[in-house]
């Protein structure tokens, strides 16, 4: 260490300037992404929320609040204190609750998402467990293997299932041949609920496996050893030790599967039939086909509330579990 005259402690002489500089640096770093996301994420979301209360335009879209004066080219407000009712309305909400079809679609979406989550859990947990228990040097490769299909295009994966489940597809023929042994007539595997759930599970499986694996990998094997030493059988070992410890991973995975699954629209669009529409499809229809943007916004708002509720529920359960553990 070089010989140096010790100056006064840094805090006493330079703290204000150093502190301010550090804070400015902090803001400088976070400002660009925050600004960008405020403009392109927060603002659109707020606009969508407001749009749910607005009225549709004559040719679709939204009835404009401002207009350009053809003579002067200046912007002028169309909405005034006396005519605001032509622009804002709760009609969309009334329609949503009055017509049972929308609630039905919502319920169906919830159902699909729930089933998908459960199946992903049932399939993903053993998979994650096996990988976590395998030799350390294999783990990275195995996880990569699991994640790899996920890197391919989502549409391709759905399309692949369309081939497999189509009437000429390999799976279709195999299943129908097996069923034929029992005298059951040919079963259609595509363009119905079955196909939708299968593809939903397939698409979301990595989302369940990864958090579970991340959690299971960190378990201390000594805990399980201790349980065995105390004469617990295999089932007890799992149920009393491994499972409770893995619950945070379970909830993380469930949230990562349930929430996106709720809003899916491409999957039912491609492989679902007319009776397996999900809320995402209806939203898309409203926006792009019927061009009824306010009502589409109402549906989106409902979906957002549902997602927030699901996320809050997951967070609450996770916190409760953490407190108990």
């Amino acid at each position: 260490m070089a010989e140096r005259r010790r100056p006064l402690p840094v805090q006493l002489t330079r703290r204000p300037r150093w502190h301010l500089a550090a804070r400015l640096r902090g803001w400088f770093v976070s400002a660009p992404p925050v600004a960008y996301l405020l403009v392109f994420f927060a603002a659109p979301s707020l606009i969508m929320v407001v749009a749910a209360f607005r009225v549709a335009g004559d040719y679709g879209g939204l009835l404009p609040l401002v207009d350009t004066d053809p003579a002067t080219g200046a912007m002028r407000w169309q909405v005034r204190l006396d005519n605001w009712r032509t622009f804002f309305t709760l009609e969309g909400f009334a329609r949503f609750f009055a017509d049972p079809i929308y609630l039905e679609v919502f319920a169906r979406s919830f159902g699909y998402a729930a089933i998908t989550t459960l199946i992903c859990l049932a399939l993903g947990y053993p998979l994650a467990w096996m990988i976590a228990r395998s030799a350390r040097r294999h783990r990275e490769a195995l996880i990569l293997l699991v994640v790899l299909p996920f890197w391919s295009n989502f549409l391709i994966r759905a399309y692949a299932w369309m081939i497999l489940l189509g009437p000429q597809g390999v799976l279709s023929r195999a299943v129908n041949a097996a069923l034929g042994w029992f005298g059951i007539g040919p079963v259609q595997l595509l363009f119905n609920t079955f196909a939708v759930v299968v593809v939903l599970v397939y698409v979301h499986l990595p989302f369940m496996v990864l958090p579970l694996y991340a959690n299971l990998e960190k378990h201390d094997p000594a805990l399980v050893d201790a349980a065995r030493d105390l004469n617990a059988n295999a089932w007890h070992c799992f149920w009393r030790v491994t499972w409770p410890l893995s619950l945070p991973g379970v909830w993380a995975g469930a949230a990562l599967v349930f929430i996106p699954a709720l809003g899916m629209f491409a999957v039912p669009d491609l492989v679902g039939g007319t009776s397996s529409l999900m809320i995402g499809n209806v939203i898309k229809q409203q926006f792009l086909d019927s061009r009824d943007w306010p009502f589409g916004s109402v549906l989106s708002l409902m979906l957002t509330l549902a997602v927030l509720a699901a996320a809050a529920a997951a967070a609450w359960v996770a916190r409760r579990g953490a407190r108990r553990a």
Partner: protein, 243 residues
Amino acid sequence: MFLYLPLVVVVAYSFNDSRLNAEWVGFTGRWYVTLLHDEAMLLAARNSLLVALTASVVSTVLGTLAGLALYRRPRQRVLPILVLTPIAIPEVLQGVSLLIFFVLMNVSLGLVSIVLSHVAFCIGFVAVVVRARLQGLDPSLIEAARDLGATPWQAFRRVTLPLIAPGIAAGALLAFTLSLDDFVITFFTAGPEASTLPLQIYSMIRIAVTPEVNAVSTLLMALTLALAALAGRIAPGALRGRA
């Protein structure tokens, strides 16, 4: 494994000498040839690459900043919400709200709007990867640099940046792939003219299913595989850190 069966089938059938995706008839490469002559597809591919490049560059820059900010100020509320929510919410909501936003702001829907939308949701992914990488760093390295008299900027440039460079690269690759593959958000913000590869594939699946789709899919998969392998080489732990 069950996960791979569908993909294998797609690849296999791309060589199938038949218009229908049903029986295995013969081995041929002619669907790939058709692909190369398909104008619409080539245009879409070019657009996709353009969009993905631009979006990944912008979102990597912004995402790295975000990752740094997330790491340094873990107790803050605003930034994490803004950055991480786009990852978790259904894409439909984002697509729809961006559509309304662009139309209201009189931004014409086209490649530009696609890039802007992609950046919005890629920032989060890059930020998470960079933050994970930062968390794996040894902070005493930076402290050592500061002790040796470096200014914060120098410490960042010469110590932190090189150390997290693999994480940044992995994040960039991730953003590129996500942008290339994105369907839902692009679907809403593309407008009537612009077309990207996923959109093109989608209309092909819905309207005219030929093994050309398989060929395109195979090529796309090969590309993504190559990118994934690249990412794996650069930053082996970064992908896992995402979960």
